[in-house]
Symmetry: C2
Subunit: 324 residues, 2 copies
């Protein structure tokens, strides 16, 4: 009987922690989810995670061999194996996540943020297979990014590279969660497009079904729905969002000249509504030598699987480098 190598991919979110066993081809053999219980210490989460993983592995024993553990989490540092002051968790200071995992598994462990993990997921299993230069943009509550240059994820000097969401669109612009002003993610994200709707409702006199929704309850899905029904404000909000996103992605292309930019996350699920204006604006702002060369692609992974596949790709990538 052949034994298949698998890695454990773990995605630690503010509410739930998802994890799964993934083979070299990106097939998820088994997947589970537990509550993160963000107020508890990290040790408790990892103890509960270990218990559930063992439960999951039991019926598979003999058929699958665990080769490593990859973790995707906010504010994760690849170089140090740590999670540092994560925004949605109560863990204070620096948590040595790699050490916590190694208490249970004597295996290679790697840690990075969710957007970097997603980039590796796309490279190993998704839309970026065979590419050596590309960018992944996650359009969720905020805007995350992972940059691959020359076949390697760009971690930078301190392990925190790839913060395209915090580049400046307008130095006098919208307040950002990081304390800055006018950052890209305050415009181009699920949260950003909701703010754009508020702004447009203040500027325009046009009727809109979005005037009936409290700003606190508004979601990018509702805006996409309204745009689909022909709502002018909703359509303009997507145009505006794509225009700003395309302009700033042209800056990113000028830095690293990617073959493709992959968009995923809640806002990317709006499809042509966001892809079309982004693509138009990107081409308009690109330096002539880059025009017509950069593909704007949807993720090649299933939305619900991206985080776990990405985390598993992170450790597969390490193992494959070792084997070279």
């Amino acid at each position: 009987m052949t034994v298949t190598d698998v890695t454990l991919g773990v995605d630690i979110g503010g509410t739930n922690t998802k994890f799964g066993l993934v083979d070299r081809g990106g097939k998820c053999i088994a997947e589970m989810s537990i509550a993160t219980n963000a107020h508890e210490p990290a040790e408790n989460l990892i103890a509960r995670l270990h218990e559930k993983v063992e439960e999951m592995r039991r019926p598979l024993s003999g058929k699958y061999e665990l080769r490593g553990v990859g973790i995707g989490a906010p504010n994760a540092n690849y170089y140090r194996g740590t999670i540092e002051n994560p925004p949605n968790l109560s863990w204070k200071g620096v948590v040595d996540m790699a050490a916590l995992i190694r208490k249970y598994y004597d295996l290679p462990v790697a840690v990075t943020n969710d957007a970097n993990a997603a980039a590796l997921g796309e490279m190993l299993y998704g839309a970026a297979r065979g590419m050596k230069n590309f960018i992944v943009i996650t359009l969720g509550t905020g805007l995350g990014s992972g940059i691959v240059a020359g076949g390697e994820l760009v971690y930078g000097a301190d392990g925190f590279a790839g913060e395209i969401g915090h580049t400046t669109v307008d130095p006098e612009g919208r307040e950002c969660g990081c304390g800055g002003r006018g950052h890209l993610e305050t415009y181009a994200s699920a949260g950003g497009i909701c703010r754009t709707v508020s702004e447009l409702l203040s500027v325009r006199r046009t009727e809109s079904e979005l005037r009936a929704i409290a700003p606190r309850d508004l979601t990018s899905m509702m805006i996409a729905g309204a745009a689909g029904r022909g709502d002018g404000i909703a359509k303009e909000a997507f145009e505006f969002t794509g225009r700003i996103l395309g302009m700033k992605l042209a800056d990113s292309v000028a830095h690293v000249s990617p073959e493709a930019i992959i968009l995923f996350g809640g806002l990317a699920a709006a499809g042509a509504l966001i892809f079309d204006p982004t693509k138009r604006s990107l081409e308009e702002y690109l330096l002539p030598i880059f025009r017509g060369k950069v593909q704007l692609l949807p993720s090649g992974l299933r939305e619900g699987d991206v985080a776990v596949l990405g985390a598993s790709a992170l450790i597969w990538n390490e193992i494959l480098k070792e084997r070279k």
Copy 2:
């Protein structure tokens, strides 16, 4: 007698082509310059270059062995070994520079643009020795840039990465030589600061010695001189330039998280006049996790040598990779 390995570094400019023999440590054994004669075909330049290089090597024979040729030139493509529609030369279309050189030298040849070559020069011999993540910005007539991530120069999908000069500051802003609007190099370069002086002279009523100089004759050195004598317009021009440069460099840091940014070229020679406001603005616009971590440094190479040392570093870098 020991024989020292050297490489030939060649910097092809619009007016002059400079070249030199450089050892592994960055010592320039011999250096010369010939007129580029930009209207003549590239073949002629390389034939004349070969003649002069042989003249230069003759008295050194037996002591130095030539190991490779590195070329820095505008619009040079590292992957293809070509120079493509260079802006200041009459060579039309694509010139296969690597093939032209190999007609004379059966040695490794590599080609890249001058800013990328400068980045490798800083890494091998200059201010970036020992660094694996840094950016070099050349503040000449325009703004060139070379990005090193994880110890490798970022060439991108097509070999043209590192065009930070053509990121957008203001989409409605100044006309750029590339056809775009409001690009960083229209503000932050020797040419850009002259345009800023014109703008300030139009806005302010203040007296200034720069009012006596025709815009066509104005240079960044004159502005630096005036600032040194306390001229308010000149000082404000440096403040404004540094403010914009710092803001956009914060975007670059968000992409690749460098350990240092090295400024060189005519405008960087103004020293504290440009470094101080750039540093202040960079820190202000940096995401908190990057603050206080990124050094802003002058070049570690002599201004006149940067281009030749950079071109030689390009081919040394290839040779050293081979030897690994």
